[in-house]
């Protein structure tokens, strides 16, 4: 990579060094979780996980595995810092968010450790931009304790089938009610808005559904305002896995294929709203 980087010291001085030929492979995935200003980054030798939370009820994680990067070195067992995600995304798209076809922006990202800024070197067509973003004290993130052994119902769906549903959600409804059941209606999304109620039913043998593993009927409600941001991940993804556990917690896993055909995952966890009153379901 033709990066002129006189500022870079010996690589051993950095606790994290990562290089990428196409910065969009990182920025796209980060956009999928960009619904709050700040994010917490965890880096291990396996890759980077970026976490965004809201209202102590919803958490989004983007996983960028080490293999996505051309170079990925973590000196310590894990490196954690908090960063302004808006600023990070602005820097990553400093050469424009939709570049000319054929031109790629390369990225080298370095972090010296606790208290240091995150250094970004972005290069496009021989022009290098250096960004330093101050990092912040990492905050403790929520542990949703979502364990696959407690999963009651799981549906894997082509994202195409949910995209329209999510973009047209009746936002006058406070909640999105998700019904998953081994019997009719199998998989149903419901809203209860000013204009009346709407139900969207997917038969389990639909071509949109890749896998249908529902063991018992669950009807849970989730704050629509908390779930709506996941639309960002949905539009980028090709498949989505919808799971609920025995407490009604929801996990939405989005499979996102980047421009080089590699797979990244974005995951949303959301806790359910109050109990469903019998009469309204």
């Amino acid at each position: 990579m033709p990066l002129l980087t006189p500022q870079i010291q010996d690589e051993n001085d950095y606790s994290l060094v990562a290089s990428l030929d196409n910065v969009r492979n990182l920025s796209t995935v980060l956009k999928a979780i960009h619904f709050r200003e700040h994010a917490t980054c965890f880096a291990t030798k396996n890759g980077i996980k970026v976490t965004v939370e809201n209202a102590k009820c919803v958490q989004a994680n983007a996983f960028i595995q080490a293999g996505i990067f051309q170079e990925f070195i973590v000196q310590e067992e894990s490196v954690t810092f908090r960063i302004n995600l808006t600023v990070l995304l602005d820097c990553l798209s400093i050469f424009g968010s939709s570049p000319m076809p054929g031109t790629l922006t390369a990225l080298r990202m370095c972090y010296q450790g606790y208290g240091s800024p995150l250094m970004l070197f972005l290069e496009e067509g021989g022009v290098v931009t250096v960004c330093k973003i101050n990092t912040q004290e990492p905050e403790e993130t929520l542990d949703f304790d979502f364990c696959s052994t407690n999963v009651i119902n799981k549906i894997i769906l082509q994202s195409e089938g949910l995209r329209e549903a999510f973009s047209e959600l009746d936002m006058t409804s406070e909640v999105l009610q998700i019904t998953m059941s081994p019997d009719k209606p199998y998989f149903r999304l419901s809203t209860f808005g000013n204009a009346g109620s709407s139900h969207l039913d997917y038969p389990k043998d639909s071509d949109l559904i890749e896998s249908f593993q529902c063991t018992q009927t669950q009807v849970n409600r989730y704050k629509i305002s908390l779930l709506k941001p996941s639309t960002k991940a949905l539009v980028l993804s090709c498949k989505v896995s919808i799971r609920t556990d025995n407490r009604g917690f929801l996990s939405l896993q989005y499979m996102i294929r980047n421009e080089d055909g590699q797979i990244c995952f974005v995951e949303y966890y959301c806790c359910p709203d109050e109990e469903v009153p019998e009469s309204e379901s």
């Binding site: 047209e168 000013n194 204009a195 709407s198 997917y202 639909s206 071509d207």
Partner: protein, 386 residues
Amino acid sequence: MKCLVTGGNVKVLGKAVHSLSRIGDELYLEPLEEGLSLRTVNSSRSAYACFLFAPLFFQQYQAAAPGQEGLRCKMLMKSFLSVFRSLAMVEKTVEKCCISLSGRSSRLVVQLHCKYGVRKTHNLSFQDCESLQAVFDPALCSHVLRAPARVFGEAVQPFSPALAEVTLGIGSGRRVILRSYLEEEADSTVKAMTTEMSIGEEDFQQLQAQEGVAITFCLKEFRGLLSFAESANLSLSIHFDVPGRPAIFAVQDSLLDGHFVLATMSESDLHSSELHRLVPPLQAPSTPHLDDFASDDIDSYMIAMETTGDSEGSRAVVPSMSLSPGCRPPSSPGPYSEDNETEPGTEPGTPPPKKFRSLFFGSILAPAHSPPGPSPVLAEDSEGEG
């Protein structure tokens, strides 16, 4: 009521709802024997639109369950529109659409059967309502223009989306002229740009109007009907009369018809220069007395009948606030009002917008139940007004 729409007709229905949504905030849906009627009126009551989809438009059409009285309902335009919000998506994914209305559930159920077996069910809340019916007759208008909607569509294209009104008239050489209408500014030295389009007579299927006639009406509503007519590849006819009389815009084919009735600016509001710039000034305008109303204003011409369904006593009877019998010419029922008992009511507190007069959709009581003497007038709740 139950009806089933399939294939491309779902989009036609959706498109009709989109064009109605340019006019009013409320949608009146009434299943009739002759088809499903969708109607709306704008808040200042200067524009009214209706579509009637014939039973053949549907795969299946049942106006009322056997032995049951037909229902009609009124709902927020927004909520019905949300069902068809993305027409591209409707076209791509929806295979059939089932609309049903039953008195028991008090919900209008719209079910969309989409690709991959996905089924969307909208349970829309509605209000029971009177029938909304404007009285108009294209046959009474002395002037008629008819052309493929595309001709009009291309003609209004250059007008700025912000332009409120447009003047349509016949210029010299029988060319049809559409000109942006600009309100007279207080400071007339600042003249904004005027856009004028002229269409040759040969583009029209029918052109029955002499040189010099012109009317001015709202462009937004017209565009709404145009976009429907263009997508359905229909001809649009415009029936109009002297300025101030409502103009009727109509589309029709064997499965549906649509009528938009729009107020036009009355002559006194128009600057004569504005009007006559189209052609050399006319001779003394002949006043064709088509009916008793020629001397009266538009209010008497356009009467909306909010006919009571039947003897249901629950209807709110609001005495007319501003009905002054003196204003009304004696015994001049509209040509289509049912008898002499019908009396126009007024919508209190609704000033007509700009220089347009309200089309005056007053209410009348069903003749059979009219008490003698000054009739109480059924008026729609005006809580939303103002």
